[in-house]
């Protein structure tokens, strides 16, 4: 019983991490139809920004979260303006171009800062110990941040003029254009927002994961899986599917090998997608 409770609580922080790392992907993939293979590299760049802010310049972790978001958002905007802009509507080509971009970014970081792991310290030491169940403070912080990010993103997309315009562009690009929406600006902002969220994710995972040039590749598969299961354009769906995937893997991993747990869950997802290809929590899309 203790194991079950403890694994379920672990599952929540794993869910939070999965959601944070997948959110940028759902925005870019779901709302803009761009398969962003460089998403993992934005996470990586966010983690490197955190390394420089906290380890090299000894600034507080919160500053690094902000810096990681801004730096990657700026880079995202730049990449949207120079590269992605030319490829809208061509899903396969965005895939190729962003894949190339991911290799370039990875190798640039490797050449500039070396291939080895960088150290990012734990900003929140300490843990609660309730009857043998250990909950690190940082995990609670992650869950809190994930919920906050979810709320802010939903508010941004559903309560602001920008969000309304974005949803209009997503539903019907040419119609939105006819009605005077500056679609180019919306595109740039959205891509920057998605990239920035990836960078923020990099900052948040840096204290508990490895920070190295190839780290991004480990998050992209789980990220896409989450997005597909959650429904392509649904932010709330991504949150829900993060919890479903992580909870089931983590709880099962308490009783069998981690590998078996993952294989079983992935199998179930494949079957689910066969019968519900639009994802579990889809919003209507034309």
């Amino acid at each position: 019983m203790e194991l079950l409770i403890s694994q379920s609580i672990n599952g929540l922080s794993v869910s939070a991490m999965l959601f944070i790392t997948a959110l940028g992907l759902v925005i870019i993939f779901g709302l803009m139809d761009v398969v962003n293979m460089a998403h993992g590299e934005f996470i990586m760049i966010g983690a490197y920004v955190t390394y420089f802010v906290t380890t090299v310049f000894h600034a507080p972790f919160v500053v690094s979260m902000l810096m990681a978001f801004l730096a990657t958002a700026l880079l995202g905007a730049l990449i949207e303006l120079t590269l992605i802009r030319r490829l809208y509507g061509k899903v396969a080509e965005t895939l190729l171009a962003t894949f190339a971009l991911s290799i370039i970014l990875q190798q640039l970081v490797r050449m500039a800062f070396g291939p080895e792991d960088k150290f990012v310290g734990m900003p929140l030491e300490g843990r609660f110990n309730v009857g043998g169940i250990v909950i690190p403070h940082y995990n609670l912080f992650l869950i809190f941040v994930a919920v906050a990010i979810l709320a802010v993103t939903l508010a941004l997309f559903y309560k602001t003029p920008y969000g309304m315009q974005l949803r209009a562009v997503t539903k019907n690009r040419s119609m939105a254009q006819c009605l005077g929406v500056n679609t180019a600006r919306i595109d740039t902002l959205t891509f920057a927002c998605g990239s920035g969220l990836a960078g923020l994710a990099g900052a948040l995972i840096a204290p508990v994961k490895s920070v190295m040039p190839s780290m991004g590749s480990y998050y992209i598969v789980d990220g896409f899986l989450t997005v597909v299961l959650g429904g392509f354009a649904s932010i709330a769906g991504t949150a829900a599917s993060s919890v479903v995937i992580s909870e089931s893997v983590t709880v099962m991993a308490g009783y069998m090998s981690e590998i078996t747990a993952k294989v079983l869950v992935f199998l179930v997802i494949i079957v689910l997608i066969r019968f519900k290809p639009e994802g579990l929590f889809t919003t209507e899309k034309r």
Partner: protein, 397 residues
């Protein structure tokens, strides 16, 4: 139409950039292109990735190999001839390693090649090395399976890393051991060998778990470890999983004092990534640590650090590549002609004074007798050697 053109232009640009990124190092590699004719020197291939994920281990190995070659040439070379390295980068792609080894052997006509690192890349080049009766000097610790008669293995096999480590653990840290490993050939084989040794040493196996290669989420594993209440964790967790494993181990409140991790894959470079606070108190077993106190080691570390300011760290792997080149030079000195079989037999029984101390190539199985050491990570993140073998440890497959 305009878009298509744009895209083509872009694709060309992207390809050009990635080509530059991929080959820049190889093209700039010293001496390779402008080298004098083969008659004036002895060509050896150096096959390490400076691009792609494997470069984390292979960049330091390449550096160390370069350093050894430069030192040997500065001291007069081999039989009065200089070693001429031909550098190739296989971009962390085993399939590309196959292409590159063919190029090195058939086009550059190297007498031997130093390099490859992962088992996948080694196994990818072996068929061509064997077919062309060439020689590969392989300098990474590996699982000790499927050895090739055309390969000289200069780093340890699992039995060497565990032979002293396991009895020492049972004697000094406790009998109850939990085994963890990355789920691939090195991790699985190492755990298998270590378990057998633990039973021989009178220890008790209280658990065994494997995680996927590259796994970064250890909360479940840590829970299982806590349930099993071992004295010690024996870890063959390797690659990119090492740093998150130690970080999360500390995050969940497990301490090196109560339950130290005894690893056969955690070295100086990964300790930097883990951070001294989370790494301190844990143990690793290798034939070489940076802090080994031999004149050769001090010279090697100083020369490496002054020559390469590229954010890489001297580890057991770098030392392996360094002594691998020295062993090759000695074999070239001894061999009368440089065909594969003659060169391989020249290696047998060869001894060199390497940074880890004296080492010796086994006369029968192409592997190397090595030192055995156990290092404990100090609070400042450096290793402190707490055990050294008095005799060389036999490479038992």
């Amino acid at each position: 139409m305009r878009n298509t053109k744009w895209f083509t232009g872009l694709l060309v640009l992207v390809m050009a950039v990635s080509l530059l990124a991929g080959c820049g190092k190889a093209e700039k590699a010293p001496d390779a292109a402008s080298a004098p004719a083969a008659a004036e020197g002895i060509k050896i291939g150096v096959l390490y990735s400076t691009t792609g994920p494997f470069s984390i281990s292979e960049k330091p190995m390449l550096n160390a190999a370069k350093l050894a070659i430069d030192e040997i040439n500065a001291a007069g070379g081999v039989k009065g001839k200089k070693l001429i390295p031909v550098f190739e980068d296989y971009a962390s792609d085993p399939a590309k390693a196959t292409e590159k080894i063919k190029k090195l052997i058939l086009q550059d006509k190297v007498v031997a090649t130093v390099g490859t690192n992962s088992s996948a890349s080694r196994l990818a080049v072996i068929p061509d090395v064997e077919r062309n009766k060439s020689v590969l000097v392989y300098n990474t610790y590996y699982e000790g399976e499927k050895p090739s008669p055309n390969v000289i293995y200069t780093n340890s096999v699992p039995s060497q890393q565990s032979a002293d480590f396991i009895p020492w653990i049972v004697k000094n840290l406790g009998k109850k051991v939990f085994f963890v490993g990355s789920d691939y050939v090195f991790g699985v084989t190492s755990v298998k060998k270590a378990k057998a040794m633990l039973e021989k040493a009178g220890g008790q196996i209280v658990g065994e778990e494997f995680v996927p290669l590259g796994h970064t989420e250890f909360s479940s594993l840590i829970n299982k470890i806590k349930q099993a209440k071992p004295d010690v964790i024996f870890s063959a967790v390797a690659g990119d999983s090492v740093v998150p494993f130690y970080k999360q181990y500390q995050q969940y409140g497990l301490s090196a004092k109560d339950m130290p991790i005894c690893s056969i894959a955690t070295h100086e470079a990964t300790v930097k990534g883990i951070g001294a606070a989370a790494a301190a108190g844990h143990y690793s077993s290798f034939s070489y640590f940076q802090v080994v106190d031999t004149p050769e080691s001090k010279k090697f570390v100083a020369a490496y650090n002054s020559k390469f300011a590229d954010n890489t760290t001297v580890t057991n792997l770098a030392e392996g590549a360094y002594h691998g080149v020295y062993l090759l030079a000695k074999a070239l000195e001894k061999a009368e002609k440089y065909d594969g079989p003659t060169l391989i037999s020249a290696f047998k029984g060869l001894e060199v004074d390497s940074p880890q101390g004296k080492i010796k190539v086994d006369p029968t199985n192409n592997h190397t007798w090595l030192q055995s050491r156990i290092g404990k990570i100090k609070p400042d993140g450096m290793f402190e050697i707490v055990y050294s073998s008095n005799a060389l440890v036999k490479p038992e497959l």
